[in-house]
Amino acid sequence: MDPAAPKPKENMGKPLPRIDARLKVTGQAHYPADLPTANIAYGALATSSIAKGKVTALHLDDARAVPGLLDIVTYGDMDNIEKPKFGNSGATSIGPLHDKTIFHDGQIIALAVAETFEAAEEAAQLIRADYEEDKPTASFDSPGAITVPAAGKSPMYKEDVKAGDFDGAYAAAAVKIDERYSTPTQHHNPIELFSTTALWQGDQLIVHEPSQNVTGWKVELARQLKVDPGQVRIVSPFIGGAFGSKGPMTPRTAIVAIAARRLGRPVRCVTSRMQAFGTQTYRAETRHRIRIGAGKDGHIIAFSHEGWEVTSRPDLYVVGGTSATGRMYDYGSVLTHVSVVQTDRNTPGYMRSPPETPYVYALENAMDEMAWALGMDPVEFRRINEPKIEPIGKKPFSSRSLIQCYDQAAKAFGWAGRDPKVGAMRDGDWLVGMGCATAIYPTNVAPCAARVRLTSDGEVRVQCGSHEIGTGVRTVAGQMASERLGIGFEKISVEMGDSSLPPAPVSGGSISTASVCSAVLKACDAIRAKLFTAATGEGGPLAGSHNEELEIVDGKIKAKGGASAKIEDVFKVMQVGAIEEYVEFAPKGATPEALKKLYAGTPEFHGGEQDEDSVKYAFGAEFVEVRINRYTREIRVPRIVGAFAAGRIMNTRTARSQLMGGMIWGIGQALHEATEIDSRYARYVNCDLQDYLVPVNADIKDLQVILVPEVDHAVNPAGVKGLGELGNVGTAAAVASAVYHATGKRIRDLPIRIEDLLA
């Protein structure tokens, strides 16, 4: 069997190939910077060479002398538009051309626009600034860093979760640890470069830009430009990787729009790989202190997680992963505290499982340490502390298949054959280690609209303003329509990535499949109801049957007794050529304003730990084998097994691919990825794909994904738990656990590099 197309088990959909696969292998999938545009001008950014201070003068003469230069947009040129806002659709509140203050290295100081890309680049590089420079604060330990408790300071983080008497329980615990962990700065580095192409048609603006949030951007860009949202359209049919980086809109979008308006020509600006490090968002570095106390029997009685996260001066971006780590196990008592640390850096933002990647890494590394302190098998330690209800709100889990994941992954991995003693396993010159960790991700869902049309000849068109960032959401939306309407997948077309389509929420927080499929399901059910009513009504081909007894299979409506009617015959009875349904899906618990907020680009998220009835999470268990060369200390991960349960799996092929990609991201987080910062200048120094290490093909060998069947009707009508951000949670802790098993060295600061294992 082809591992790429796992055989569906209970509650899993077919491994259909992606609906856009042919476009992607023939070069016909048009990403936003691909669209041919007549009379286009090219823009290139000039960025600051200091991290803190003021621009006192800008020298533009050399740039203006470049043949082909058309315009330079800089200070003063944005005065009549609104500054960006931080939050929801906005990456930062810094309006780089509104204010000569420099908040971070690599801040935009001008946009050069020219007839050719080459001339624009040349001009941008000739723009020089004079600065009044201050000493910048680079990171945690730099002078000038200001630590702020996160709770209550940011709408993104309401409270530090707690339960019971941690101090008392920890003091009384027979076995305890108190350790510190850290994770580095990371940049998303999707392979598609960030870009904006702006075209004005009269007072209508069309922006082609890779976006995970076309509706939110439309509203925010209209606000900045002081135009009606109806005048702005964001188009992003294919997105070349996102991972959170294309969720919030950056200030560049409005700058390019203004350039295009001034020039009366379309303008395209493709940001260089290096400039993206300072002009886009990133995952900020974090620090953690974890204390765990347990009885000698292995039951945890006290858990404390303190976190510190870097942010920018003006924007309190916080991820606050204690909300998940505080609910992971049956702790007894919980104490958490999250702080943000303000520095002279660009504002961080969402990056694949923003809270869980750093916080669950710290928790799971600590859990492994605790298992060693107890002399207990790490899988058994987790089994003992498996909760019946979550410890903070004392709510049940809507479903939780973590132990099934551990059992299946352990078996496939061969965990029982491990020699548990440190350094006991060897293969020639290679020290072998094995480790494991838990993956968790909150199951969110948001309001979503969709339009589905079925024509009498059995063609289906699905329209939804969601975003195909590589997840396969376009495929699974089509699959949902195909299953529900009984129409062959080849007769389905799906349009996404355009703010003129029915609005969908931001494609973040792993909500897209759940939200979009729930909306498509609702639209298809409305079409079914119309068809069934006509079929069973007077003069209908299935008159006398009841609607609830009908099914549609292969383009035919089938009644219980065996009678059937072709869909086209029902259309004849209805005397219509097409049935089209525009629906708005709102999840259980949605406020009365929920749908209005969807159109305003500020969708409500539900699920996770927010619902009254239960907490909703997807879980997984990951096992890795590491091999460390006894002489060079080179670290390899030749084998990794992950088992995951995430409710209804719409398509086993796309689900496996997402989880696989996540697991490889996890290996990257463990061993490769880190943005290095020169603390003297608060400057990123490895701003390219040669020096910012990501996993390549040769880093990955034997990888197995196990899809564990799970049914959960409480999460959303589609029964789907998002899994795009599940696979990379926990992986780095599993690697750290395996490194310890191989070497006896406990590495608490990521990434784990050769130098950490010398001596």
Partner: protein
């Protein structure tokens, strides 16, 4: 040629791409990648770094894989250039490597895919697809941030025997 080309001054360049000839006027600093994308309209070839570090811009030049962002367009006069748009036959039949990438779900977002496919064809032609380990090593110049690597290896294996000498 005896005349020194002047930077910025456009020169007419003849490029043979996917068996078709194009005469275009280019700034001599124009990379083959930008010539393909911005001047000829073949945007299947992607820009991922413009530094020769990611492999997204890989095309075949005289059958060998080349990073089109690191090659000036004018250096490719008279050479046979193949891009992703030139792989399928006129009747729409996919090249075996394209078919294999679909069969094994060897992509997610699809952005690095044209470069991966051309690199894979080059890898097979070079004789560097004899084992899975070989494929992993010789396909490591093409970064896939979605990390479809195991599926890419499976796709190259499937298409290997059909694509030798393609």
């Amino acid at each position: 040629m005896s005349v020194e080309p002047k930077p910025r001054q456009p020169v007419v360049t003849s490029l043979k791409i996917n068996k078709r000839s194009y005469d275009i006027s280019l700034d001599t600093r124009t990379s083959l990648l930008d010539a393909l994308r911005d001047h000829i309209g073949l945007t299947g070839t992607k820009k991922g770094c413009d530094h020769g570090q990611c492999g997204a811009c890989t095309v075949l030049v005289d059958g060998k894989r080349v990073l089109s962002c690191l090659s000036f367009a004018v250096m490719n006069e008279g050479k046979d250039i193949t891009t992703i748009e030139g792989l399928a036959s006129r009747d729409g039949k996919l090249h075996p490597m394209q078919r294999a990438f679909i069969d094994h779900d060897a992509f997610q977002c699809g952005y690095c895919t044209p470069g991966q496919i051309l690199s894979a064809i080059g890898c097979v032609n070079e004789g560097h697809a004899e084992s899975e380990d070989d494929i992993r090593e010789y396909m490591s110049g093409n970064i896939c941030r979605c990390a479809a690597y195991p599926n890419i290896v499976a796709a190259v294996l499937q298409a290997r025997d059909e694509t030798k000498g393609a």
